[in-house]
């Protein structure tokens, strides 16, 4: 069943037409990846889904409900939760406080405590540093925190914007392993990546975005075999 549906979405920055009629769907329990070069419009799409940007045209639905009437902070409460590009943890808040902010829409105290424990089992490094201000964490730890923070809201759909960006290869590996783990545990994921090779290895399906338009969509396996994808995104001759 489709949980997230994006239908013919057009988003502008002033006069700049950044998204030119995007349509995609994410089904319950799926791990879908959106790949594309720098500047293709990937972050713009995630911001539009999260309600930070408003489409001039088109519709975004969560489990059938039109999200147009909701503001960004309300959309989180609906269950669409994003870990933004560049991590953007709250540098002057501690690790624990960052996680509490992730749970801002929740009121069940014991559930929140369980959530924090869950994040700490997923990322033991964060537990060691729970009282440290996030600004002093390493890049990899900040990415773990950004993902953990998003998980705290108990997402129905988790949007990840380039979680591997700027990380050393070994950390990229471990972040992708975490995503596989989350997916296996039933989390629905829309993963935005420039690292198409890794993303297509772990995703069920994929979309290819180029200058504001979806130019391809298929199962991840087929996309890996696609000649155009191999040339443009997987660096094969």
């Amino acid at each position: 069943m489709a949980i997230l549906e994006v239908e013919n979405v057009h988003t502008y920055y002033g006069n700049i037409h950044a998204l030119k009629g995007i349509s995609l769907t994410v089904n319950e329990g799926e791990n879908v990846t959106l790949i594309g070069a720098n500047g293709a419009g990937k972050s713009t799409l995630l911001k539009t889904i999260s309600g930070l940007l408003h489409p001039k045209q088109g519709m975004i639905r969560l489990a059938g409900e039109d999200l147009a009437a909701y503001q960004a902070h309300e959309i989180v409460g609906k269950g669409v939760v994003q870990a933004p590009e560049g991590r953007r943890v709250f540098g002057r808040l501690t690790v624990s406080e960052n996680l509490e902010m992730g749970a801002y829409t929740r009121v069940d105290r014991s559930g929140i405590a369980d959530g924090i424990e869950h994040v700490f089992t997923l990322f033991p490094r964060l537990k060691e540093r729970h009282n440290q201000v996030a600004g002093t964490l390493s890049g990899g730890e900040q990415q773990m925190l950004a993902i953990g923070r998003a998980l705290m809201a108990r997402p129905r759909v988790l949007l990840l914007d380039e979680p591997s960006m700027g990380l050393a290869p070994i950390l990229v590996q471990s972040i992708f392993e975490t995503i596989v783990q989350l997916h296996a545990a039933g989390t629905t994921i829309l993963l935005v990546e420039q690292n198409a090779r890794m993303a297509l290895q772990i995703a069920d399906r994929g979309y290819v975005l180029q200058t504001g338009q979806i130019i391809l969509s298929d199962t991840a396996g087929n996309l890996r075999q696609n000649e155009m994808v191999q040339k443009a995104y997987l660096g094969m001759a």
Partner: protein, 353 residues
């Protein structure tokens, strides 16, 4: 060596000379004043306690500037008028309660009522200000809300002048707050100063606890760091901004009553100097930084109270106390030149729009 010298510009040299001579004057003046023996320990402790009381009021107002700056990177120049609006409105309540004798019989309830009216008025004014004057301009260039704030400041002054008249009104005396305590003939503290210092201290402690410990306080800090990401956490950013104005205004309203009780008069223009001073204090402590505003306020109050006599009396300046504002602003300029970040804070110019 040569290249290092070349990097020092003439202006730098000039500024160092200015700074050096000011420090020289301050040192020579202080030594001369102390050696003249004209002022006893009792005098100095009076100046100091007055400075702490005055500084506590500055600190409360300064927190309003710093909280709003922390969230919106904007100087709310109408904050002095938020302070005035509460104190001035509460005057009528204080006056009525005093005339009916209630303030004499039941000072605690009476004062609480005066504080409540003042804080409620300041909060109302600030919330309207945010909604009408600032929110529509949130995405405008930085200069625009600044001009609006100055306009709002005049608007409020003349509105209150229109409502309440242009004369000074004298705040009633509260019988229990009359008189002072003396220890060993050296330290003497007026009851009203005790009220000011204790009330301000408690309010600041409450604010600090709120910001550090509560969920809403943490959300406030999150919004001050990154509004978009705060929204992605489900935080209603507009509501947090309004809440910030409310807290700043409540503190200003309380400061207004304390100020009026200390100086015993109110006036439509009464917000101007304390407003500017508190802004100075906020910059001094590091704008956007909460402990900085508290420290900056206290420091400025003490500096203003002790400084003029200490620095200038020994130099034969006839009426040093008249120069306290000049001294305060000289200090502001020096701080902006030599330590633009203030004592604890971030750089004023580096702040993003």
């Amino acid at each position: 060596m040569r290249r290092a010298l070349e990097r020092i510009s003439l202006i730098d040299v000039f500024m160092w000379i200015v700074g050096g001579s000011i420090i020289g004057i301050v040192l020579v003046g202080s030594v001369a004043t102390i050696r003249s023996g004209q002022y006893s320990i009792r005098h100095w402790s009076d100046f100091l306690i007055f400075g702490v009381a005055q500084g506590s009021v500055y600190a409360l107002i300064a927190l309003g500037y710093t909280l709003v700056y922390g969230i919106l990177r904007m100087i709310n120049f109408a904050h002095g008028e938020v302070f005035m609006s509460g104190a001035y409105t509460a005057f009528f309540v204080a006056d009525a309660l005093s005339k009916s004798g209630f303030l004499g019989q039941n000072p605690l309830l009476g004062l609480l009522a005066v504080f409540a009216v003042s804080m409620a008025t300041s909060v109302t004014v600030a919330v309207i200000l945010e909604r009408v004057a600032y929110r529509p301009l949130r995405r405008a260039p930085r200069l625009v809300p600044l001009i609006t704030a100055i306009g709002a400041s005049f608007f409020l002054q003349y509105t209150f002048r229109g409502f309440y008249g242009s004369g000074f009104k004298s705040y009633p005396e509260v019988p229990v707050l009359q008189g002072s305590w003396v220890w060993g003939g050296i330290v003497s503290i007026q009851r009203i100063q005790v009220l000011v210092i204790v009330a301000a201290g408690l309010l600041m402690l409450a604010l600090y606890t709120y910001v550090q410990r509560t969920r809403a306080g943490k959300a406030m800090r999150a919004v001050s760091e990154d509004k978009d990401v705060a929204a992605l956490m489900g935080i209603n950013v507009d509501a947090v901004i309004v809440q910030t104005f409310i807290i700043g205004a409540a503190l200003a309203g309380a400061a207004g009553v304390l100020y009026a009780l200390m100086f015993r008069q109110v006036h439509f223009f009464m917000g101007f100097f304390p407003g500017i001073k508190a802004f100075t204090a906020a910059v001094l402590g590091g704008i956007g930084n909460i402990p900085g505003a508290m420290l900056g306020g206290l420091f400025l109050g003490i500096f203003e109270s002790v400084g003029p006599i200490l620095f200038l009396d020994g130099l034969g300046v006839p009426a040093p106390y008249q120069l306290k504002d000049a001294i305060a602003f000289t200090m502001l300029v020096l701080i902006l030149i030599f330590r633009p970040t203030g004592i604890l804070g971030e750089r004023l110019a580096r702040a993003k729009a």
